[in-house]
Amino acid sequence: MIYFSNTKIFSILSVIFICLMFAVPNFFSKDQLNSFPNFIPKQQVNLGLDLQGGSHLLLEVDTVEIVKERLENLNSDVRRVLKKNNIQYSNFKNTDDNLKFVVEEFPAEIQKEILEISVSNSQNILQMGDQTNLVITRDLNQVSISFTDEFIKLAVSNAVAQSLEIVRRRIDELGTREPSIQRQGSSRIIIQLPGIDDPDRIKALLGQTAKLTFQLVDTSTNYDPLNPKKAPVGSEILPSDADDSFKYIVKKRVMVGGENLVDAQPGFDPQTNEPIVSFRFDRLGASKFGRVTQQNVGKPFAIILDDTVISAPVIREAILGGSGQISGGFDSEEANDLAILLRAGALPAPLIILEERSVGPDLGADSIEAGQYAAIIGFVAVIIFMMFVYRYFGFLADIALIINLFMVLGILSLFQATLTLPGIAGIILTIGMAVDANVLIFERVKEEIRSGSKMINAVENGYKRALSTILDANITTLIAAVILFFMASGPVRGFSITLAIGIFTSVFTAFTFTRLLISIYAKSLKPSLVGMKIND
């Protein structure tokens, strides 16, 4: 175990050298690094949000809403089919996951027609061809219609993919530095925003579905506060954005929607100097908008965002150019954000914020400083202790420990793994535990010497005997680290990463580098000293 071929020595030293090269950039500032020659790596350790400051948001797409909305569309389709075929129905109602009604007769061809309509309405989602997406069950006269689980899964998956894209567009529009937006599981989105410690504005942007519609105000009646729920058939009551006590009655029919917008920009009204958002429709939107305004001159036209009326200006003349503006008493930041929302498009379903973790930049800096301080002191304490217990061998183990730390840092930089505060704790724990492999070996060597072996043989046998123990002992810790990696997310996951890297590097250095040092030492001893004890 103590004889090394030159190739072996060369490979051990190269592995260490490569790790050191990748560790070095962390000790210089970014400016200094740029002045270095190109062959030196420039990647620094990737700091987690808890160290560099930033915000982590976990969002969930409201899947119940997706199914509900689809059921509502289905509702009117089914009624139409029933009416068209003169089928009497009663007790028609929507629940969260199905439609129910009572019929006297329900012929198979009607069922087929409903299925066909539903499939053709879902072509954007259904890539399964003509396969049906409905489950129709009939129990005596009670019919219930629901979507297949497969279809719901597809619809949700589709909505999440769409939401992801829209979230990305909205955040990009704000000019955030290196945001990371990822899908997690079936219906969640993780957003990491480095450098942002007060994500209020982003939360406000993501909290809105931003569904824009233009609907006519129902002028046949006025809102009656004493009878707050009553609206004429075909109309609905919506709150006003500007005045909490006021409500609008608007016609349900959507004349033009936000999906026809091609651009929206914040600006100022040249006359009043009030912040506004000007928008432009695509060709279809422009012709729809033109027709409606032409036919309804003199009537109020409600601009509705997420079921709230922003304003309802009276149409003065037909607007045929396909562009217009919204003014609603907002300040310039609100106008800017509304323009962003309109440009990015509407979310298919509301997003719910499940979790938020934000760290300010100075707490992060304090944590780094405290971590470095603790690492240095712990490191010095371990070094002194090892020299005290094992003298010269302790010194060799200490050199290995230093190499070890550099290797952990180098590997973190090389793979761009994220270093977090618990990750720093993992490195410090590694300092304490990394010497274990060497301790196991030294104790074995000591035993060998005690039983009369000569130094060279003692080292040889000590390594041999300690091998399986070291592997067993480290694999148990590695198992714990791997489980932690899969179970945890965020900062705690960073701990499992540094712990695992530390296990690999400490076993590696004990079996290569320290062994090399000790073999050089053992072979250099004068014959008279060969039998000396380690801690004499």
Binding site: I352, E355, I428, E443, A480, A481, L484, M487
Partner: protein, 308 residues
Amino acid sequence: MIDIAKTKINFLKSRIITFIFSSILVVLSIGFFFVSGLNFGIDFKGGTLIEIETDNEIEIAGLRDNLNTLSLGDVQVQEFGSKNNLLIRVEQQSGGDQIQQNVVEIVKNSLDSHLSSEVNFRRTEVVGPKVSGELIQSGAIAILAAVFAMLIYIWFRFEWQFSLGAVVALIHDVILTIGVFSITQLEFNLPIIAAILTIVGYSMNDTVVVYDRVRENLRKHRSKNIIDLLNLSINETLSRTIVTSVTTLLALLSLFIFGGEVIKGFTFAMIWGVVVGTYSSIFVAAPLLNYLDVKREWNTTSAVDSTR
């Protein structure tokens, strides 16, 4: 200096006493867990946590009273590391995930109007009911999975008696760690789960080293009395056990003292775990082998180097 490896301490002599001692601690831990429970942090019970820093000292009682008038339920305010640093905890609001988001804004507005000096918001965490429920579940699963994985690994590498002894020691360590958090009512949050998992790894590491020696001695001294053999094995590995525990504790103590407030709970759990894990390897895991009827006839031909 003293050569620790030459010790001949009779560790198993007082095994009944140490078993009773351990059992009392385990029963106490379980008792406290059921009586006073754990002081769960927002990771596990949901809610809002805000860490603030101000230029001048803040009068905590006044701030607490002020925040408690916001009708957000229970609001806790405590000093965090220094007099200018405060931690504000607001309990989870009823009404689902989206509601929790309002808390931060309400508290921030109240702080801005209540405090004269400028407030620096160092940390904001909001965990809704859905996530906290999942975290507690995945934390429990992770610990169980780790213990189970160790059981399988030791069974595979040794034999079932060893794996049973090691896992009993492991469960002992986990229960005692949860117990100390129940007794002290220190905050129990996500990093503590990480600490417990590391303790599982560390304690097993210690146990494996002793067991490895036991197995080796079982091959070497076929006729030796099992109690003497266990004692011999513990003594032979004692030096290593102490040195590794000391270096690990040195590093952890440094982290505990200088590493900052945020990871104090985590470091405390680790320090406790290293002490308990070291104790259990010597006084629980090894002596248990005495009762588990370990195999004496190891196949020497398949062993790597059992003969000298």
